[in-house]
Amino acid sequence: MKVALPLSPVAILSLICASAALGAEGASLSDSKIEFNRDVRPILSENCFYCHGNDPNHRKGKMRLDIREEALKKEAFVPGKPGESELIDRLDSTDPDDLMPPADSHKKLTPQQKEVLKRWIKQGAVYQEHWSYGKLVKAAIPAGLNGVDFLVQKRLSEIGLKPSPEADRRTLIRRLYEDLLGLPPTPEEVVAFEKDASPDAYARLVDKVLKSPHYGERMAIGWLDVVRFADTIGYHSDNPRNIWPYRDWVIKSFNDNKPFDRFTIEQIAGDLVKDASPETRIGSAFNRLLLSTEEGGAQAKDYEQRMLTDRVRAIGAAWLGQTTGCAQCHDHKFDPFTQRDFYSLGAFFADITEPIIGRREDGMVIATPAEEKQLAKLDAALDQAKKKFEAIRPQLEAALKQWEADLKIYSVTLPELRDGAKAASADVQLAKKTAAALAKEPGKRNRKELDAIRDYFSAHGTDLFQPEREALAKAQKARDDFYNPLPKCIVSVSNSQKRIVRILPRGNWMNETGEIVKPALPHYLPQADFGGRELTRLDLAQWLVSRDNPLTARTVMNRLWKQLFGTGLSKVLDDLGAQGELPPNQALLDRLAREFMDSGWDMKHMVRTIVTSAAYQQVSTATPQLLAADPYNREIARQSPFRLDAELVRDNALAVSRLLVEKIGGPSVKPYQPDGYWENLNFPARTYPTDTGEAQYRRGVYTWWQRSYVHPSLLAFDAPTREECCAERTRSNIPQQALVLLNDPTYVEAARVLAARILSECHADDDQRIAWAWQQVLQRDPSDEERKTMADLLEKRLAAYRNDAKAAEELLEVGQAPAPADLDKAELAAWTHIARILLNLHETITRS
């Protein structure tokens, strides 16, 4: 029922307010052009698409508003005539049955939003293709200008803002180092840069940074988050798996500037590429990064489904910037992604060989040619020994049978179990097991029991063929001793017997009535022509980084922007769909994405393009006017300060104390962790084997990633558990961070080692020493207030430790690094407080 209501005075007033609010942003409402993607889609998506969108099963009244023709067919609105449009009527209906959105949705449009919809219909109700699915347009840039700056400034002048001045040299070098290396510059590097008057000083600095092997470590952190790299399987027992070589592969790929298209292809199909090599196969470990279980009672079908869905979500998160998880059960409600798309995408991975339940296999052995040769030799020797043993096995089996019969006939008690027997406890254990097994009917013995009998018989029951048996044991041991320590990595191995993939009704794996699907690309995105053959992972990988696919480049550049500015150009990093955000500066994101493709997916080129822009080099402080106009810095009229990522907080402390071991790659390491933190892990129960020596002081990117108990000091600084793909870490500011920086032995040790550096490397008075310490950590001189605060505190602490030698000693014993014997303990303990305060400063853990 349509009832035209005259506008109440309140409604008129709110309309005036609405106009005023919009007017403040530039043009007044009456003459502003409403744009579907910018103004209308967010309103419809948030309030309407849930019931009137892409999902037919949940669609109410067969009405869909996400496609113009469909909406028109159902007369949702009359273009040009908001007064005659049902959509508008429904918004203000007084009849609860007609009101949209309905009360039980708990959604409500603001007067401004309603006004936007009216204006939009008045202007003809024009739709636009969703911004991120459209072709990438490369905005023209006047010759000689930096594309980033041109587009940032174009936008700023449109909205009446001005860029901020360039940051000082110290800030610039610290920013660049933290963003691209994750390590601070040394005071000497800062001074050299400050003094470098040549016009290309900054450009050369960028070149130097991009050549550093630490660049790959820094860039890897974000990628390892988004692909959910971790050392353990995740579910239940959360046991280890062999995976760290993949992490090193990522680091190396960034350092070698492997083109991003190739980087992609090797991860999804490194086993299928023509030039497959051990290296590309390690890349394909990507397909194995998901969660798995060893829990008893887990059903293969259940976990087969979990693994499929896990993989689809990963492709969506890492490359497409599309949320896909909901399509496990039903068509996406906001985006065109269907349930069929979901399972068809999952079907690309149906060829991967893997145990669905249970322990992961050892994986591919990573060996040098010489090691491979040696392993082959040992394997051959083992084969030989086995063959020889096989030849004698029948005789041994016969002897075993005879032995067992004899034991029975003569009621023999095994010697180890006789009264007064003197045997090693392992032998007694084995004898006990054997006796128990022998007591059972031969046909009813289980595997373990049969093994026990065999082992006992071999060791104590017979002298037959001793040389052959010893040769076999020796060959086995030689091979194992060589094989076990070799690095291994679970990788993708294609199986011609693919798993059958069905659409699971409501995601229910027990329902096998759904249609069987073949691998297929999401139907709403530009397709490639494969001539009707069955698609493979390689096809998927190539399509993800083809020029036809507009999403990958946008998604990756958006994340890169976030790394360098603190917020993405589109702020929702994992969703470039309808519920994400139209970037305020879409031309900029699109240009970066196109240039990324055009450059041959050259990541270092893109990093260089952005960090050499004036936009990147602005100060991160804001004037009150700028803060009022753009509080969240979405317009890039300045840089943003933000806290360092979890790993880098620690890296920084290790670097300035010079504890850091700058080795690249290798097995994951276990730095100090509170005792008992793993007490709730089991199967097996585990204690944390704290590393000693070099391994204690490696960068955070190498820290052992135990999914169900991520290292607590990393967790406090928002390191994700990597159970699910994480495109964006939260950045919190919580008391646990203070507790970590104050009390974690990692930081206490770093403070006392830094204190030792102050005393042994700076031979001067206290005031100069304070200044020297400030240079080491912050690469600037302390202010008068800082000097005085520290001097006063130093005096107090020194007096206290002079009075309490034991306290000084206790403090100096924290951590593994020895305290230099030649330093006065009270003095060293007192300076430890100065160093500690420095490591705790907000400025120290902030990139500005």
């Binding site: 027992s237 906001f334 203070a738 305060i837």
Partner: protein, 472 residues
């Protein structure tokens, strides 16, 4: 209700605004630290649509999956059919865990049931102490869950989803309501381990804040070592020195703020103050020696024994201090074998403690606004596993609730004669969450957070219902 986006924290904007030009928030925080505490006194929900009957929740998580058949759901028929084949009509085509594909035989309840309370409700005779307070308790015998393995089932019970990365219910609640605890986290977790089990693992994700800001994550209080990770001063640094160092750090941070005008700095200063206070308040909380002998006797625990009973007493102390959500895990209810012996251990460990918690809260007038929930992550099969145990089971389990407007003495819902499936008033985990939120004053359908484009809710999207019949 309009939950805020974590990346555009309004609170942060507020701080920034107040700091600018005045530099006064830092000062204010020294005078009145509660305005900047870790979890704000007020959550994102400015107004509540329902009366807040529960001010806090104590959730007793019986990890491993207690058998409803040896706790709260009497099944004489199952006893009669002991050893006989399970009727196929019940089990055909259904999901089982370790028993999948095996011959299914009935397994009688291992202990007799007895009558308690004014309604003479039957519960297992292993739990006489709980029986003595049964008039405060509402048994829900018709609970079901979606998951059948421990890890996903815990996730489902805690977050309403089997996919990792969702916020735990304690995070949701503190996010929505904040916390009245000035010097403690708003969401606290304790674990305990008794006798006779295999110590099933529990992942920290069970109390993770998922996609909500990290400040809403559950903080584990530990019986051994630092009660909160990194709580204790480094050796050789006393409390005065720690305070002096924190003061110096904050002083220098304030000076830096005057230069760069970054609203995060005011928050960081407040967090250092909070951390320093926690260093005193947490040990004080954990020290049960200040409790009278009578109280210790009521609970049946000794200070520092790390038992479930101790944790129940700690839960009361946390509740008194304004903590919003307290979750106690007691492990090893996973009785695949030796159920008879194993469940007796569990009963010994929790029976008196549960009674004591209810009694203690009641005598302090706190039961009226404290919601207690007792629940495993799933139930167990009426079929035997290996002749002495029961397998995981998701079609039937019993949970109970007490306090905060829950109808005591009530039995809600029932299972079939053999305890295989809930048949009357079938309830789901989502219903339980919705009911809990209702008692906290929250409309579960409107309590949401935008995540990956969706309005994520603790109570899911499949249509949860508040179990109104169990509420006063």
């Amino acid at each position: 209700m309009f939950p805020i986006n974590p990346t555009s924290l309004n609170r942060r904007a507020f701080l920034g605004k107040a700091t600018r030009g005045l530099g006064s928030v830092a000062l204010a925080s020294l005078l009145r630290p509660s305005i900047l505490q870790a979890a704000p006194a007020h959550g994102v929900l400015q107004t509540l649509p329902y009366p807040q009957k529960a001010k806090r929740v104590i959730w007793l998580a019986m990890a491993g999956g207690p058998s409803h058949l040896e706790t709260f759901d009497p099944k004489p028929k199952l006893a009669e059919m002991d050893g006989q084949p399970m009727p196929e009509s019940l089990t055909k085509g259904q999901q089982l865990a370790q028993l999948q594909g095996q011959a299914l035989k009935c397994f009688a309840p291992q202990y007799p049931f007895a009558k308690y309370g004014k309604n003479q409700t039957e519960i297992c005779s292993l739990f006489p102490q709980i029986g003595s307070v049964l008039d405060e308790i509402c048994l829900v015998r018709s609970m079901t869950t979606d998951a059948i393995n421990h890890d996903p089932a815990h996730m489902f019970m805690n977050t309403g989803s089997q996919i990792a990365g969702r916020p735990s219910m304690g995070s949701w609640v503190t996010y929505g309501l904040g916390s009245d605890a000035e010097e403690l986290p708003g969401f606290v977790v304790l674990t305990s381990l008794g006798k006779g089990g295999q110590n099933q693992p529990i992942a920290a994700r069970q109390w993770s804040s998922g996609f909500l800001p990290s400040k809403y994550q559950g903080v584990q209080l530990r019986a051994k070592g630092d009660p909160v990770l990194y709580l204790t001063n480094p050796p050789g640094i006393d409390r005065d020195q720690q305070g002096g160092d924190v003061e110096a750090i904050n002083k220098l941070n304030r000076a830096h703020d005057a230069l760069v005008n970054d609203s995060e700095i005011a928050t960081r200063i407040a967090q250092y103050e909070m951390a320093f206070k926690m260093q005193a308040s947490v040990p004080d909380l954990m020290d049960l020696r200040s409790e009278g002998a009578k109280t210790l006797e009521l609970y049946g625990c000794q200070p520092g024994d790390g038992s479930f009973a101790s944790n129940c007493l700690l839960a009361r102390r946390l509740a008194e201090r304004g903590v919003r959500f307290i979750q106690l895990y007691h492990k090893d209810w996973d009785h695949h074998t030796n159920l008879k012996e194993g469940i007796a251990y569990k009963a010994q460990e929790i029976d008196r403690a549960c009674m004591a918690l209810i009694t203690d809260l009641k005598q302090r007038g706190m039961l009226d606004d404290t919601l207690i929930v007792w629940a495993g992550e799933f139930g167990r099969t009426p079929m035997s596993q290996g002749g002495s145990g029961r397998d995981h089971h998701n079609k039937a389990m019993t949970v109970w609730l007490a306090g905060a407007g829950v109808r005591g003495g009530l039995v809600y819902g029932s299972t079939d004669d053999l305890g295989y499936a809930a048949v009357e008033n079938v309830t789901t985990v989502h219903d339980l969450h919705a009911t809990m939120l209702r008692q906290l004053g929250i409309e579960h359908e409107a309590f949401r957070f935008k995540f990956q484009g969706l309005d994520a809710r603790l109570s899911g999207v499949e249509g949860a219902k508040v179990i109104k019949d169990i509420l006063v």
